[in-house]
Structure formats: C-alpha cells, structure tokens
Symmetry: C2
Subunit: 686 residues, 2 copies
C-alpha cells in the first residue's frame, strides 16, 4: 500500500479507513468517536536522506512507511486517546491515553450535533419561548412578512479554571430574520447555554452583560425588534448594486506557467511540494529556488484570537483556530472565477468523520498566477534606454471559515526568490448584545443593539529552515549611528550594522527603531561577493503582541503570542506553537517548553517561528461583513545569491502583454472616451 | 485664456510660454536661466468656494485666475529669483530675489550640460588619461572586444558647511564597457570632480576612500579590469533567458470601469482630479468617495535619501529628490504593456526648459484597473451559502528615475473607500569603489571592486484633509490593558482604547507596542451607529526614522524625517516638508517652522504629513538592478460609514470572470497536465 505515494503526499481515503479500522479492531466493543485522523510526517532524518537521494541520486530511495495519527474517545468518555499507525504496513505503532485533562480538538460534525442538542434541549427551548418570537414580524420590502428564528453558534469553551476537565461548549445564541441568508450576527441574544461536548448534557446558562460593566440581567424578555444589518443581496433592502464595474478577464492562452505533478509544484525556479492537512490547511515541503534549498517545511501552525472584553463570560473567548478546530477541517471549497482567477489548479483535503470514515472537502487550495505590477526596471537617463520587467506571482490560497470569521491564507511567490506570507481577515465580526447608547472603550457599536469587542489575531508561522544546507543560524541585525565626531564620521551622518547571534533557543525582542531585521544565515556557506554568510531575511513589521496580562489564561495558553520571533532546535513532532492540544488547555505545551534557553541553536538544525499579530478594534466598515484586513510579512533573500536572481526574466513587451489604450478600448466598447459618464452606452452588461 | 481650464488642471504650454515671456520682457537684456516653471494652486479659500458651487450649485463659478511660479537666475549668477504670474490675465504678480544663499533646484537640461562640461574639462581629462583606458579591453562573448568608457554622474552637492553659497555639482565618475547599455555603476572610480553648476567652473577634485576608513589615495592609477556586473540582456554574458513564463493577458472587452474627463477621474464611487506637476509628479485634488469629501489635496511632497557612509565626501550624499530634482522632471514615459497592463489611460507632464520653453514628457502617469484577490467573503457553515467579492483596484502610477534609482509611486484605490499608498524602490544602487576584501559594517560589497553604502529613503506624503467637511482633528488611539483584578476584568484579559487629541501643530511619536493608530476625525460629524466622530485612519508600520545625528546637516535639512506623523494648520504655500528650496539648504524651512507647537490644530483646517521611511542596507540581490522593495501604508475609513460601503458590489461569478481549470487550460494549450515539465510542448512562444 501507498508505494506510489510520496512521503509528503496528503493522507488518502484508504489510509483513513485503515487507521480507523485498525483502531476499531484493537478496541473491540468500545464505540470509538474519532476527533482527528491525519498523516504524520516521517522522522526528518529519514526524510532528508530520502530527499537527498531523490534530488541528487546516490542509491535507491529508502523505504519510509507512511504514518498516521488518530485522536479518539471511547464511548464518548474521557480520556482522549492518541494512536500512531504505520499504514504502509497496516500496524499500530502506539496507542495510549493522553495525559489527564487533555481535551481533543473539535470536529465539524460534532459542532453541528451539539448545535442541534442545544436547540432542542427543554431548558433552552423554555428560554427561547420567553422571547415570544411568534409575536414579532418584520415587513421586508423584497421578501414580505418575515418571522424571526433562533440560531445557536457553539464556541470552544475557553479556559478560566483548572477544574473544567471535560470538553464543553459555550453556545452563543442569536436571532435572525427567517431567511437562510439573513445575518444572525446582527441580533445577539443575552443568554448563552453551556453544554458538555461529548454527552450533550446541559451544564448551565450564562447570561451576558450588555452594558458598560460586567453586570447582567437574568431575565430573558420578549424580543423587541430592531433593524438588522444584512450582507446578502437577497436580504439587503437599502443597498443597490454598484454599476459600471466592467469585466477584467485574465486569460492564459498558452496555459499556466506552473507545472503540477501530484503534490510537486514547479514555477519560475521554485520547486516544492504542497500537502493539505486538516490542522494547518496545508504545508509546503522541500522548498528550493534556483536549485538551492531554502526550507524543509513551512506552514501556518496556530492562530489564537483572544478577545479584550473582560466581562464574563466573554473573557473565555479565546479561539485557537488551528489547534481547536483546524484550518483544513474548516476550509472552504473554492470556486472557479470566484476565489481565484486565471488558470487555476485545485487541491482537495480529506478528513475523517467521527466514525473514522473519509470525508472529501473538495478544492480547498487554489493555485494560480497573477500579475502584480513591476518587478524591476531601470532607465538610463542619458540614452532613454530601459529595462522593464513585470512581476508575475504564483499564489497558493486557502480559506478557512471559523464560525463568523474567514481567514484567507496566501503564500505568494515572486520570480526573485521571495515569499510573501499574506493573511486576509474577512467574514463577520463576533458580536455581543449592547444596550442602547452604551458606548465603551473596549468595543465598537456596529448596529442597533449590537457591539463588536476589540480582539487580537496572533498567527504563528513555522519555518523549518534549510537555507543552503542543513545547519542554519538565526541572527538579528540592528542599524545604529556611528559614534559622533570620529575620523570616519566627522559630519555625524554615519550608521552601521550590528549583528547579534541567537545562540540558545528562545525569542528575539522587537526593535523597529533600530530597523531590527531577522535573518537566517548559513555560516558554512559564504557569499563569494559579500564575503559574509548567505542568508534569507524575515521582514516583519513591528506589532503589538498579546495584550492580556501574564497572569491570564490567555497568555498561559498562548505563550507564543508574547513574542514576534522564536527560534528552536529541530525535533520531530514539535510542530505547533501552543502545543499539540489547545482546546480548553490550561497552559501551552509548545514554545514555552521548547524555546527555553537550553538548546544551542547556532549552526544547527534550526526552526523559526514567526508570530503575525493584529490588534483589531472593529470599525463600522467591518460590519456586517468586513473588507479584508491585510496582514503580511516578507521572506526574501539577503545576499543569498551573488546578484539579482531575476535578471533572466524576459523584458516586458506589449506583444506579450497585449494591453490597450483607454481611448481605443472605450471606442471599441462603444463609449465615447470623453463623454459624460452618465451616458448609458458605457454600462456593464452584468 | 485658460477659461476652459479647471482650477486644478496642470500647466499648459501656453501658460509656460506666457510666464517666461512676461519675465523676459520684465528683465530686458538679462539672459534668464529658468530652473522651474509650474502652476500654483489657487488660494484654498477661493478654491473651496469654487468646488462647493461646482458640486452643490448655488451660483456661478467664481473667476479664479490661473497662476504660475517661476524660478530663474539672471546671467547665470546668483541670486535666484522667484516670480508669480497671473497667466489668465497675463500679468506678473510678484518678482523678487530669494533670500541670500537660496539655491534653486536642478534642471535635467543643466545636468546633461554639466556632465558634458566635466567630461571635457582639461583637468578631468588629464585625470582620465591616467587610467590608460586605451590599454585595456574586454573580450565579450557576445559583443567581441570592448573598450572602456568614462561616465560622469553629477549629483546634488549636498551640504557640509555654511560657506557654500553658490550652486555646485559633485560629479561621481564611473567606467563602463563601451556599449550603450553597459552598467557603469559596476565600476566606480576614485576621483570626483566638483564644479560650479551655473558657470561650469572647475572647483576641485575630491578623491574617494575605498577602504575601511576615511583615508584616500590621490593617485589615479591605470585601470586594472575587474569583471563587471551587467543587467541589460544585450550585455549580460552569464545569464540566460528564463523559460516557461507564459502570457497572462488582461483584457477588458467592455472597456474600462473608470471614466476620465480631462483631469477628473471617477471610478467605483471615487471622484477626484489628477494633475501632473514637475516637483511632485502629480497631486490628487478634491477627493470624494460615495459623495462624501475626504481630501482637498494629496501628494508625495518630498523624499530625502541620506547615505550612512561617513567617509568624506560621501557624507554629502543626501538627495532631496523632489525638492532638488522633481519627480515630474525625472518622470519616465510609460509604455503600454510594459509599465501598466489592461486598459490604460496616460497623462503627460509639461516642464519648462532653461529658456522657458515648454517640454512635453509624454505618458508620465498611467492609470488602470487590476484584480487583487478577494475583497470580502463569508460562508455560512450551516448552509454552505456564501458571498464572495473580488477586489478590483484602480491604480495611478508614476515612475521617477533619479540618476541610479527608480521610484514607482502607486496610489491604489479599492472599492471600499481605502487608499493604499505604495512606493516601490527599484533601479540601481548608488555605488562606491571598494578595495579588495574590504568588508565593512556600513556597506555591502555587490561586485568586484564595488560596494553599496547603507542609506535611507524618507518620503513625505502630505494629506490636506477634508474628512466629511472642512474642520478636522487628528487623534491617536492606543490599546492598553485594563487594570488587573477589577470587576470588569476579573480574568485579566481586557484591554481598551485610549484616545489622545493633537491639540497643537507638531508631531506624534510612534508606539507600535500599543498599536498606536493615527486617525483624522471630524468632531462635527457623529457616526449614528458608533455615536463617535467619523474618521479615517492612517495605518503606518513603525519604522526607524533618520539615523544621522541631530548635529548633522542631514537632520537640520530634513527635520521632517525625524518623525512619522506631523500635523499642521493649513496655510497656502506650505506644501513641502523640508521647505520650498532644498538644494544645498543649510536647514529646513518646512515642518520645523510650521509644526512648532503654536497653532491650534483641533477641529480646524488641518494637514497631515506622513513620513514613509526605509532603512536600506543593500543586499547582493539588489545589484546590478534591484527587485522592487515595497514601502506602503493604508488610508482607510474608520467608522466613517455606517457599515461596509462595498456591500453593493456584485458577487463574483465565473460568468463574469471567465477563469479556467488548470487541466482544461493545459489540454487546450497542448500540454498534458500531468506530464513531466521538461516536455517541450508547454514552452512559451515568447
């Protein structure tokens, strides 16, 4: 089995089936409730041997069995079990209880089931009845008379006590107009049931504060309708359709410039593998540019979203969207001409359902090329002679919907060896009920009766570096004034670079005002031009990190979010910044353990963890659905090559690019180019 | 005259001719040497009256005569004169000597003339002869036997003394292979003649240090050839042509979505005027989105580029690329299908030559639309129903070549009311001669015998704000933890916004670790949803500002470069951050005078000056021509609208976007989609 699979290819249906079958067989009569099944990377030492032979020859490829892991509960009871399976040889490698109190991630199927359990529970139904929804209606100008409907949005429970040792769910409750595409985030209700996740047992109802302080009212009162803020064209009443947006077609008559062979992608000097997985969405492996190695593995590995609203129970709102849910589990199926334009290649994700059966999530990754302006140019002002090159980009995109929010993850490759890591936050703000005229300094009113609390997004990207070879060093360079009034600096304008080496596993402080720049260098590979080690730099804008107090569970659970850059020595299975199990965790089991100052990380197998942080105080423009907020950083060669590696790109010509003068295009489209814009001839046909 | 011109339309040939004619007539027999002639904005009070009637009616448009200014020397002698002309009525408003020591900007014509003067001067020729170039040749694999040629690159002289009271030029000298497109920046020579700018008189030769310290050698020795690093395809020997980049055609079969009527642009709710000028490249005027005013005027107004190499004479390398040269003067003529793709509208710049005659620089601005991924989306995970919108952008682009460097200025408008201000630095590093194996901490060796000093780029963007009306206030918001262990923050996770008002003209300190966010608000316009003033925010990444000592001329001349954000009260003619005259200036006459803490700037006519800074330690990948370094910030609504202003955008469909599956595209192009990439059928036809 699996003999034709690459070591990094994503899990197959057969592998999922074998994993669950072997574990079911092992466990006899117990009913297994699978939470996650996925592929496990091979031990790196073996993988590097494999990759070296694959690339450079020197013998037969070693046999590396494919491995999977599984998290499951027996008979819907704690403890959580974790198993490792050799699916190539169809045998269980390990199967054991996780440490006491360990709670597994959430599964989409379970969330829908618990939603159903909440909605049908007599206590919740009794609470809903108090709203007297049968008495309220809304006369919609397009849809006629509409009633209201209750929506349950189960959340990860978060952590505020060492006593919560079983998986729980905090259900935030909303109303919405009775239309499938109405926006329930516009009407948050003031009661929030808590249920057990596995057994669906009712725990209690939390009542939500809606004023300036932590106080709340326990009485659920009849609902008094307020206008809703809608985003779907079928439901919006006061928003027309913007005119005059004309088609902009991206066509590639000779096909794509990239090549896909299974999980292997090649494009413009880049070579790597892309493999989807349920937790991270996808990972890159074995990244090379122009024949030189850069990274062994690259992935977004965690994101925490702590809310800054201190009023209980909102203090528990701290999602770990990868560890608690999984960006593959929650990935959107992307559609041609919607999420990506041009010539588009799609990849799928496979997850396991609670019974251990495979579920296909089609088209979770789209890959395409785009033009993004100019790459480089120069004009000799004496002769007018110039060189102009366009910047073609290759984009790998995935989109996760984690309840209200959407995260668009783009890895953008250029033709000169740089990767832009770009995350676009979109979707809908998580909202809370708000009393009339209640203005606070920790939330923004976004509609009648509804506020959106300030919060943060802190994403961790893990770069298992292999810059020009297996042993790397992380340095940070500061730029500081030269000493005044010295012979080399008589006029006091000089500045210089000060290099610092990260010797031990740990973090690097931010220092934007010395232009601190993080670099991964290879001290064994000296650039023949600069006479210094080759490197790649991480250009990260300075950001506020997690704001919560060090005393808080938010920080204890997401210690990684306190720093922008971490460095660890590579170890197998150290993949996730906040640890393997984040759901209702009491403390992180990731970087706070691994980046502890003990390991030497100089000139060795080094891993860089980059935290991309956004403090997000909502604005009204972000409701009822928000225009993407961009978060990004750049990973780019820093004297890695001897000169610009993109000098070989053909110069731009209009023979190739086929652009058109505005005047000609307007004429061809029947629009007088300097006629008043109110003329109807220029309207789009859409 | 000019009766059919808008008050913001750029200068016309006729206006240039009238300006120089009136001044020549005034000055009788004196020979006038014009340095700059351009249009002057009307007094703002008059202009606002005009704009209000133009937009809202209420009477006849007031008559506002068009005005120009001119800088000129008489008989190539100091002082510099400045004149103001009413070109509508053909009369001189003012004509006077500038204060003693004021030196005018450089003119492209003059730079070419001084280049010629340097090259033909006997002392320089004697120095060149010492190189014995007739004895050295290079056997080029494609071009055959090539000799070497000397190139002179005149620089603004900079400032290091109060005694330099006449315009001077520092000529940096280079060698290059004798081919028009060879790269002279690869062979910097070690002598640098200084000449008078107006009279072309020889002043002296500076000899350049090329080692670890400020020491230099006065002997110019015979040139010993070293390999050059070339960028032009005709001259490169060791670089092939990258294959497999296939066409990506952007077509707009129904024409552009934007409308151009003279200088007036409308696109997707945006309305503004674009006017080219010689100093700034271009300025936006009267910017509205969705019928509400945002800005009276927006422009890049200055950039200084101080070098961090303290060794004389390099310490004098501090360009003011707008004040000393002008981004319109140095603008590239942009070519269809090269600098912009799709349907492209071009605008021209007109400058005056030294005789006061108009010179057309065609196509200095290109405007086009582009797709840049997703604008917003949301998927209801319960139903799978989603809304997806593409992000269409409108881009105004200009490119200035200031000797070695190119600056690409993009103003990017989105459909939701945001402007991205993006500068791409490209072109060629300014280089210095370097001794073999001389590694320093203030420069990067980029080729044999050549180093590129660390330097900075500090750009000032001026926003004359008119956010929802004439009176605005600048605030900065910090995000700070709530007090621990208080009733509202029992779990120590809360944080809140602290707002600070800029009361007096001055600057705001950076504070990335409190997520400090600059906003321009209108205290007279309360958002009915948030119940707080409407605003726009400036999202600027924290950056190191000018590094040079406060004692240095670099800082005295570019005081604006010490801070990221400045606020002043509007006054006519306060347009340029470092003052009107920067060439060889002793100190700034701009923000240090205007932002002095005296004017009240709260709820009044306010101007925001944003400094975009880049500390630039070169890397080898940036030679011989550098892939664009991106610098950008975002100006975006912050609870200005009551909700997302882009809800009216049609949802994305493939009927509209016409994208194609990779497999289908490869098949159509005759490429088996999963065949090895080495197959020849997939090669591009370029």
């Amino acid at each position: 089995m699996a003999s034709n699979l690459h070591i990094f290819d994503p899990i197959t249906d057969e592998e999922i089936n074998w994993t669950s079958k072997l574990l079911k067989d092992l466990n006899g009569d117990a009913k297994l409730h699978f939470i996650q099944i996925d592929r496990l990377d091979p031990p790196k030492k073996q993988a590097i041997e494999y990759l070296n032979i694959e690339r450079y020859g020197g013998g037969e490829l070693p046999y590396i069995p494919r491995r999977t892991y599984a998290y499951y509960y027996k008979n819907d009871k704690m403890p959580l079990y974790k198993a490792l399976v050799n699916v190539s040889d169809k045998r269980i490698i390990a199967n054991q209880e996780t440490p006491e109190g360990t709670i597994g991630p959430l599964l989409p199927d379970d969330m829908l089931a618990v939603e159903d359990a909440v909605m049908t529970h007599p206590i919740v139904k009794a609470e809903i009845e108090k709203l007297q929804l049968e008495k309220v209606f809304y006369n919609h100008s397009k849809l006629g008379k509409l009633g209201y409907k209750v929506v349950c949005e189960p959340w990860m429970y978060g952590t505020d006590s060492p006593d919560d040792k079983i998986p729980m769910i905090q259900a935030y409750m909303y109303l919405k107009l009775d239309h499938p595409d109405a926006n329930h985030y516009s009407i948050p209700l003031k009661f929030s049931p808590v249920f057990e996740y596995l057994t669906h047992k009712f725990v209690r109802i939390d009542y939500l504060p809606s004023g300036a302080d932590e106080k709340f009212v326990k009485d659920t009162l009849p609902y008094k309708p307020l206008p809703t803020v809608e985003y779907h064209p079928d439901v919006m009443e006061d928003v027309g359709v913007r005119e005059n947006l004309k088609p902009l077609i991206i066509s590639q008559p000779e096909g794509a410039s990239f090549d896909v062979q299974g999980s292997k992608i090649t494009w413009q000097g880049w070579e790597f593998r892309v493999a989807t997985n349920v937790r991270e969405g996808f990972a890159l492996y074995d990244v090379f540019f122009k024949g030189r190695s850069l990274f062994y593995r690259v992935a977004l590995n965690e994101m925490t979203v702590p809310y800054g609203d201190g009023r209980p129970p909102f203090h528990r709102k701290q999602a770990f969207d990868l560890g608690d849910c999984g960006f593959g589990n929650t990935a959107n199926s992307l559609a041609l001409g919607c999420h990506c334009l041009g010539v588009v290649k799609y990849l799928d994700t496979r997850r396991a359902d609670r019974d251990g059966k495979p579920v296909l999530i089609p088209s979770t990754i789209c890959m395409h090329e785009q033009d993004y302006g100019l790459l480089f140019l120069h004009q000799n002002y004496r002769t007018g002679s110039n060189v102009v090159t366009r910047r073609r980009e290759f984009v790998i995109q995935t989109i996760a919907t984690v309840a209200n929010y959407e995260y668009i993850v783009n890895l953008i490759f250029d033709q000169a060896g740089a990767i832009t890591v770009q995350v676009r936050a979109t979707g809908i703000l998580s909202t809370m009920p708000n009393d009339e005229n209640n203005v606070t300094d920790f939330g923004t009113i976004v509609g009648p009766g509804v506020t959106a609390a300030y919060h943060q997004h802190l994403l961790s990207f893990r770069f298992d570096t292999r810059i020009d070879g297996d042993n790397n060093t992380v340095v940070y360079d500061d730029y500081v004034p030269m000493e005044d009034d010295t012979p080399i600096n008589t006029y006091n304008v000089g500045y210089r670079q000060v290099r610092n080496y990260v010797e031990k596993s740990g973090s690097v402080d931010q220092s934007p005002f010395t232009n601190r720049t993080y670099k991964v260098i290879n001290e064994n590979s000296i650039n023949p031009v600069t006479l210094k080690p080759v490197g790649y730099k991480f250009e990260m804008p300075a950001r506020q990190m997690i704001i919560a107090s060090e005393k808080s569970y938010n920080v204890k659970r997401a210690h990684y979010a306190t720093k922008q850059l971490w460095v660890t020595k590579y170890r197998d299975d150290e993949l996730y910044a906040a640890g393997e199990f984040t759901n209702q965790s009491q403390h992180d089991t990731g970087l706070s353990k691994w980046a502890n100052g003990e390991d030497s990380v100089r000139n060795t197998d080094t891993v860089v963890w980059a935290t991309l942080a956004l403090t997000h105080p909502p604005v009204t423009e972000q409701f009822p659905v928000m225009t993407s907020d961009f978060l990004q950083f750049l990973v780019t060669p820093a004297s890695f090559f001897t000169k610009n590696p993109a000098l070989d790109i053909p110069l731009a010509t209009n023979k190739f690019n086929k652009s058109v003068y505005y005047e000609d295009a307007q004429k061809a489209a029947g629009c007088p180019s300097e006629a008043p814009s109110s003329g109807s001839c220029c309207k789009s046909n859409i």
